[in-house]
Amino acid sequence: MATESTNSETKRGAGRFIAFAFFAAGILAFILALMDDYAGGLAIHPMDQFVVSPLFGDGPVGIFSITNATLWFALAVLAVVLLMVTGTRGRAVIPSRSQSIAELVYGFVRNMVEDVAGKDALPYFPYIFTLFLYILCANFLGLIPTAFTTTSHIAVTAVLALAVFLTVTILGFVKNGASFLSLFWVSSAPLVLRPILAIIELISYFVRPVSHSIRLAGNIMAGHAVLKVFAGFAGALGVAGIAPVIGIVAIYALEVLVAAIQAYVFTILTCVYLKDALHPHH
């Protein structure tokens, strides 16, 4: 027993060392890549990282082109598979580490749906869980140096937000019929104010997909652009570039936080909208 535990301890230590080595190598590669990018000139192009371009060939981007965006969508799917399928393949009653993480994420989103939108929203849990996992994985994959961040594109987040908006609106009418419109008729307000409030409610309802999508894309894009700007300074300043590099480390830490928080915010807002669709009466 004693030797076995020592063995697994050693293995774990080695695993940690390898993970750390990869992490350090990644950061080094990131910094070197940035230095290389800006070695020739001093121009800073913080938006270049968002350009969608074909992976093979040089032509214009057609609808079926395999682009860098395609690659990172595929990697997001792969990350979801690794987390939720490969991680749980043991099906253990006493879970392994990876299974614990999968169960933790599952329980987190499931509780969120149940607490915010109610028990009758649970049939829509797979749909919400899909959105959450995609955004979470895409945000974190985007933090890998030189990665393409799919969630920084308004086209992507607008589709996500519109999908939520349409689903929730159609669901509201299917479940409640015309009484879904009582969502806009604030019955607790004085009668005189109700038409005015109805207009405000209506506007805010249609602004939902806009804020829902721009919040996510804006946060991710801004963070990545700021990282690129600081990296440009680092390249331009030479030895004094250590200051912007420290800045990059700090902003990177913030971006890790933002990646998780934005996935959470998008999901919880989806739950709130779903709750309005299922229980429209104030």
């Binding site: 000139g41 192009h45 938006m47 609808i63 939720m84 099906r91 009653v93 996992l133 995609y134």
Partner: protein, 199 residues
Amino acid sequence: MADEAENAGHGEDAHGGVEAGLEVAIGTDHGAADAPGMPQLDFATFDNQILWLVIALIAIFLILSKVALPRISAVIAERQGTLTNDLAAAEDLKRQATEAEESYNTALANARAEAQKIAEETRADIQAQLQTEIDKADAEIAAKTAESTDRIAEIQAGAVATAEEVARDVAAEIVRALAPGQDVDTSAIEAAVSSRVQG
């Protein structure tokens, strides 16, 4: 294609201000041609992104709903079941232990009562036997005492008779010695001795 160029142009106008300023200041030839202000607003790439996004979302949804979610919910249900079973088994074992303790206590109390009863009986037995023996001994002692009393009375009576006879003989001899040659009135001597012995 013309559309694309127009879009790119708009993007440049609207959002390229800061970047253009930087480029002018730093003076590189990095092309405005290949970088519109915001790639996010390059509508030419929208259909491509939306297509692959939808494919990715459908893939994730199918993977989750067909494989991952049933598996995780099954594992969690199984864990819940195992916990419930283990708790029930523990409850059962606890109940059995309590029962065993109760039966042990009952057996102990019974044994104690039995022992007490046996001790009591034995004591009573011994007491009775002892009483009988004592009574028997008392009776024997009483019999012996009566016998002894009789014998003592007999001996006493014998002794008195002998003493009377001795006294009579001694009295006759004394009378004879005191008055030789004279007739001894035997009956008078006997009467005198008898009255003295009685008195």
